[in-house]
């Protein structure tokens, strides 16, 4: 087996996995900070409950993002040493800045927030959360800057065949990065919105199913109480209704932002990586038509076997250029251009190892790009529509009793995650066969590109890569199960799971496990 393929699978799996946690951390962190701010402003216990409950889920998820983020930083050097040598002068800096300017802030202040209840002054305590959230948003910026440089290298010149940074400002303000950063953040906000909506729906449904809340003749909610169930008092209803409606609004804002920034990003991508976008469309011939449905064997990578069934004339030009006339180049025209510019076969250079001389496949895997693009947009649009419907269905203060709608809302949490992942898989696999994509547009620097085939560590064996792929994959799988189980556990417990004072006290002073508990007991402890 070629180490290159294993290394690519490993990078793909570990990165997609890491990005399950990241958007939830980014989006939910912002939500919790807003909730906590409301609590400090109003002093209303409802907001405290909201802060504690969503804060608990935030932390359960946060830790896996931290733990798997380490793998991301290490594996550039471990599995992609040639890549690291090639890009280090420009790619390493954003990672170092991320550590110095973002991760320290995020981690230190999150620790202060978790353990700072009743210990820090209220406003200072609130500020620690905001700083932690800002830290995570800044870290996202630096990592997107690094990634966007691979999509669109700027701010460098070639010295002895290696890109050397000449303009950090150009790297930080790379138009690809600005579009991708806003796109990613809105995507993260959408994830958080769906998460709130789905879980709050379950809680309101649970209250109805347990006979706590009922509806009157007009369908308006009659809020009840259940003294026998921890946390299920009248205030509890407000917690979940606020969560649900806030989640729906956040999701709609997120999806709106995603659509706008996605449009910007697509227009850039048509200039910077035309072949990626042509492959996303299965656009074999130059033209203006957007494919709504193409059939045939996309996997054959062969334009002969693809038939576009439904196409909208002009739409492709509109997506790319904002008009309805510009002819967008198709695969059949682009591939010869790439072949002329970058060669037919991998050069006879030692860094390609046994891969030297192989034919270069310039067309990204069309099945992945075509469907990745559509799943991203489809899941996003579906979830946005669902959020609007949810707002309408809950206008009278609670959710319908239908268990199927509840299941739909809960599984709907996955849709924005799916859209995020499909988008990343699309843009990263659409960049192939390059790890650093060359840019035909005017702002691109000529000659700065690298084939993925040249990027893998020459000294690392297939056996080592299989070992790491299997062991990391196994650990990741187990931890995913554990994380989801814990999230479910805390969701089912409701607010009482996150607020000890709402739970029944079995704190028996005669308990041999806890002799003479003092009165300065910590507000929170692991």
């Amino acid at each position: 087996m070629d180490p290159l393929d294993i290394a690519r699978w490993q990078f793909g799996i570990t990165t997609v996995y890491h990005f399950l946690m990241v958007p939830l951390t980014l989006g939910l962190g912002l939500v919790v900070a807003i909730l906590h701010t409301r609590y400090v402003r109003t002093g209303d216990e409802k907001w405290l409950r909201l802060t504690k409950f969503w804060g608990k889920l935030y932390l359960v998820n946060f830790i896996l993002g931290v733990a798997t983020g380490l793998v991301q930083e290490f594996q550039f050097g471990m599995a992609w040493s040639e890549y690291s040598r090639f890009v280090g002068d420009v790619f390493g800096a954003p990672l170092a800045l991320e550590g110095l300017l973002a991760f320290f802030v995020e981690s230190t202040f999150l620790g202060l927030w978790i353990f700072g209840w009743n210990r820090l002054p209220k406003r200072v305590h609130l500020a620690t959360l905001w700083l932690a959230v800002i830290g995570s948003w800044v870290s996202a910026f630096f990592i997107i800057v690094a990634n966007s440089w691979m999509q669109h290298p700027v701010g460098v010149e070639l010295v002895d065949g290696r890109p050397v940074m000449t303009d950090i400002w150009a790297v930080l303000t790379n138009n690809t990065a600005l579009a991708a950063y806003t796109h990613t953040l809105f995507g993260a906000v959408a994830v958080a919105g769906g998460f709130l909506l789905g879980i709050a729906w379950y809680q309101l449904w649970r209250r109805r199913t347990d006979g706590i809340d009922t509806v009157d003749a007009t369908g308006r909610v009659v809020v009840g109480e259940a003294p026998d169930i921890p946390g299920r008092d009248a205030k509890d209803h407000g917690v979940w209704l606020t969560s649900l409606r806030l989640g729906a609004v956040v999701a709609i804002v997120g999806f709106g932002g995603v659509a706008l920034t996605g449009d910007l990003q697509a227009k850039l991508m048509y200039e910077q990586q035309p072949l990626k976008m042509a492959a996303a469309e299965a656009a074999c011939h130059t033209g203006t038509e957007f494919s709504v449905l193409s059939i045939g064997d996309l996997g054959s990578q062969d334009c002969e076997s693809i038939t576009t069934i439904i196409a909208i004339p002009g739409l492709l030009s509109y997506l790319a250029k904002g008009d309805f006339e510009t002819e967008m180049p198709g695969i059949n025209d682009l591939i010869p251009q790439y072949q002329e510019e970058y060669g037919l076969t991998l050069p006879d250079d030692p860094r390609y190892g046994e891969r030297a001389g192989q034919t270069i496949e310039y067309l990204p895997l069309m099945e992945v790009t075509y469907w990745g693009f559509r799943i991203m947009i489809g899941f996003g649009a579906l979830a946005a529509f669902a959020a609007v419907v949810a707002l309408w269905l809950t206008r009278k203060g609670t959710v319908p009793r239908s268990p199927w709608l509840m299941r739909l809302a809960v599984f709907g949490i996955l849709a924005p995650f799916g859209a995020n992942i499909a988008g990343w898989v699309f843009t990263e696999m659409g960049r192939q066969p390059f790890v650093v994509a060359p840019n035909p547009d005017a702002s691109g620097i000529d000659g700065v590109y690298m084939f993925t085939a040249a990027a893998v560590s020459p000294g690392v064996t297939a056996g080592e890569l299989i070992f790491s792929l299997v062991s990391l994959g196994g650990v990741y799988l187990v931890l995913l199960v554990v994380e989801v189980a814990l999230l479910v556990r805390y969701v089912r417990a409701g607010v009482a799971g996150a607020l000890p004072e709402l739970a029944p006290h079995d704190d028996d002073p005669a308990d041999p496990d806890h002799p003479e508990r003092r009165d300065d007991v910590l507000a929170f402890a692991y």
């Binding site: 002068d89 978790i114 508990r517």
Partner: protein
């Protein structure tokens, strides 16, 4: 002398020292929790001494790695790819340790907690040992060719020096954490940790002394022996302070021991960052492995502004959580039961 690369060699040394000083007691507490704590209350007490700060401490490692990538890409690429297998183990150790800290208290069965105790202690050990081995190897050399790639199989790194480095960091973490626990807790844990320091230090600090001396004989200039002497004096003072149960003083002295010892190592290897055991001509140095002056200049400006700020707020977080903890302050485990009407 190359000024900017030298500044970054020093900066990376500072990041590694900061990492060992801070994360050192986190790793050590993880190991103590597994083998030295008696009962659930003590385990939770130990865990909560590092609870608010461990994640910020881990960032020293992340930043050390990223700064190496940015400032010395060739060093980063050669070291990390050559040490592929041990670094996978380090990553698995770090993952389990981090998740254990957060998840341990979120289950309710003894089996759950015992499992995470093993993940925490084992993960801390694995990470400390692997990082120690990696650091020892980058100061003594690895078989790399003229391109910086490994010559030999996946286990060519497994040498007595790797074991020495691994034991050095594990040993230091154990002593450092015992001192830290004695300083941060009250009651039984404090007493036992205080006794542990006195008993463990003379043995557990030997490997790190061995590593320091080895590097001195290999490539140390005469003046860096001064740091060795300072380290030795600090270790003795730390041990004496620990015997008198002067916990703060012992902690400072053992910290000084680490700073002086690591400074001796880094001064001795300079300007090499990764010697080649195949041919000295292939050795990676501060000069031939570094990034451009422009990149280093940008990072120097950012670090000069950013690092003091980091130090300030991290110091503040230690100030906020400065009080000793006792087992009686640990709240009762928090029941997490489904908020569902019975019978459904």
């Amino acid at each position: 002398m190359e000024i900017l690369p030298t500044i970054w060699f020093v900066a990376i040394a500072v990041l590694w020292i900061g990492f060992l000083l801070l994360e050192g007691f986190d790793f050590g507490v993880g190991m103590h929790l597994l083998v030295r704590a008696r009962g659930e209350q003590e385990r939770r007490l130990m865990l909560n001494t590092i609870g608010p700060v461990w994640d910020g401490n881990e960032v020293w490692l992340i930043t050390a790695g990223a700064a190496t990538f940015a400032a010395f890409p060739l060093w980063y690429a050669s070291l990390f790819s050559t040490l592929y297998v041990p670094l996978v183990l380090v990553l698995i150790g770090l993952i389990f340790r981090a998740v254990a800290i957060e998840y341990r208290g979120k289950g309710s069965t003894d089996r759950w907690r015992r499992w995470w105790d093993v993940a925490l202690g084992g993960g801390s050990f694995l990470a400390a040992f692997g990082i120690g081995a990696a650091l020892a190897l980058t100061t003594t050399g690895l078989p790399i060719d003229g391109h910086g790639d490994r010559v030999g199989g996946p286990f060519v790194w497994l040498t007595p020096v790797a074991v020495l480095g691994g034991l050095a960091v594990v040993g230091f973490c154990l002593v450092h954490a015992a001192t830290f626990l004695a300083l941060k807790t009250d009651g039984e844990v404090r007493e036992r940790a205080g006794r542990d320091v006195v008993r463990m230090a003379p043995v557990a600090l030997l490997p790190i002394v061995g590593w320091v001396v080895l590097v001195q004989f290999q490539s140390g200039p005469p003046w860096s022996w001064a740091f060795v002497v300072v380290a030795a004096v600090a270790a003795v003072l730390g041990w004496l302070a620990a015997r008198k149960r002067r916990e703060g003083r012992a902690f400072l002295a053992f910290s000084a021991f680490l700073v002086a010892g690591a400074t001796a190592i880094f001064s001795a290897v300079y300007p090499n960052v990764l010697p080649s055991t195949i041919d000295p001509a292939f050795t990676l140095t501060v000069a031939n492995a570094s990034s451009s002056d422009y990149t280093l200049g940008v990072m120097t400006v950012v670090a000069a502004v950013g690092l003091p700020v980091v130090l300030a707020y991290q110091a503040w977080s230690y100030w906020v959580f400065r009080r000793r903890l006792s087992a009686a302050q640990i709240p009762a485990p928090h029941p997490v039961v489904p908020a569902v009407r019975a019978g459904r």
